[in-house]
């Protein structure tokens, strides 16, 4: 059983007090030009998920507390929760540094993008 603490209101509870929201940081392809989206992009968005053993990032909702969504960085092997962070944020830099495989690629891309838009 996972013991979760809501980073927004501080409510503690087991995983049944929270609503699991699937993988975090899934970006929807831009919809300004739906014709321009390739089947591969759409498939990627709908079905392709990052599923490494170890550090994983997911969304959760504080169902029985404040009702807010937030992010969890969790190790799928040890079930250890490494960090909580806001629903519009990227993980803390030290956690990003530990990310592997698909996650490392995703965060490299996102941080590069964030720098560019700054």
């Amino acid at each position: 059983m996972l013991l979760v603490t809501c980073p927004i209101c501080g409510a503690e509870g087991d995983e049944t007090d929270f609503h699991f929201g699937g993988q975090a940081h899934i970006a929807r392809p831009a919809t300004t030009n739906p014709e321009g989206i390739t089947d591969a992009q759409q498939r990627e968005y709908l079905f392709t998920r990052i599923n490494p053993k170890g550090l994983h990032f997911e969304r959760a909702r504080c169902d029985r507390g404040c009702g807010k969504w937030f992010h969890i960085a969790r190790d799928t092997m040890t079930m250890e929760i490494k960090a909580y962070y806001g629903v519009t944020e990227l993980p803390p830099p030290d956690i990003i540094a530990q990310a592997k495989g698909g996650w490392a690629e995703l965060f490299a891309e996102r941080t590069a993008h964030a720098k560019k838009t700054k």
Partner: protein
């Protein structure tokens, strides 16, 4: 249903969720419905000074910012639901007017005030074993020191979404969505049946 002379429209139309149900007997805590309470859903950012000031001007209280707390002023009570949501309790016949006042005071501020008096049913669990009965339906430890009068929290109670407010030490108001009222009363009646006291759950 006909309107009797002198009765307001509100009285004639409104029927509480458990109106036709006899109060349970043979329970070791008292269980009864609180029906004439008005409830207003108020949303806005607790970081917005204008919003907080406008709410205070109408309600006479600072909206509670600390999680799981409530504030009372006269017959108006504000329950914290989330950093941007509160439930305002008042007399049922005052709710429409209070909602209108709030809407007016909050004009131009990113916020929302809606009269949701019919949305939920309230069951008051009262007596020596009130906390114990609540513990039978939830995963929380009601003997914890945090659970003092004024405490408010959303919970999963008997597998449904609920909200409770500790009014006094042994008086707990349980708010459930109206369609769950009978189910909740059934559950509580069974959980509080005489002879089913659990000494281990008492402080």
């Amino acid at each position: 249903m006909t309107l009797t002379e002198g009765a307001s429209v509100l009285e004639a139309v409104f029927e509480s969720a458990l109106a036709h149900r006899a109060e349970p007997t043979n329970t070791y805590v008292s269980l009864h419905e609180i029906s004439m309470r008005g409830m207003i859903d108020l949303r806005g950012l607790n970081t917005d000074k204008k919003f907080m000031a406008a709410a205070k001007q109408v309600l006479g209280i600072d909206l509670p910012k600390a999680p799981r707390t409530s504030e009372t002023f006269g017959d108006v009570k504000a329950l914290w639901l989330s950093p941007d949501q509160w439930m305002i309790l008042c007399a049922r016949d005052k709710a429409p007017a209070l909602t209108a006042q709030l809407t007016e005071a909050l004009a131009g501020i990113h916020s929302l005030a809606v009269d949701v008096s019919d949305m939920r049913a309230i069951i008051r669990v009262e007596g020596e074993g009130a906390r114990e009965v609540m513990m039978k339906g939830s995963s929380l430890d009601f003997t914890d020191d945090d659970f003092k009068p004024g405490y408010v929290r959303r919970i999963r109670f008997a597998e449904i979404a609920a909200l409770f407010n500790i009014v006094e030490d042994n008086v707990i108001d349980l708010y459930v969505f109206r369609s769950y009222a009978h189910y909740t009363m059934d559950f509580l009646t069974k959980a509080a049946r005489k002879g089913s006291e659990v000494a281990a759950l008492r402080k």
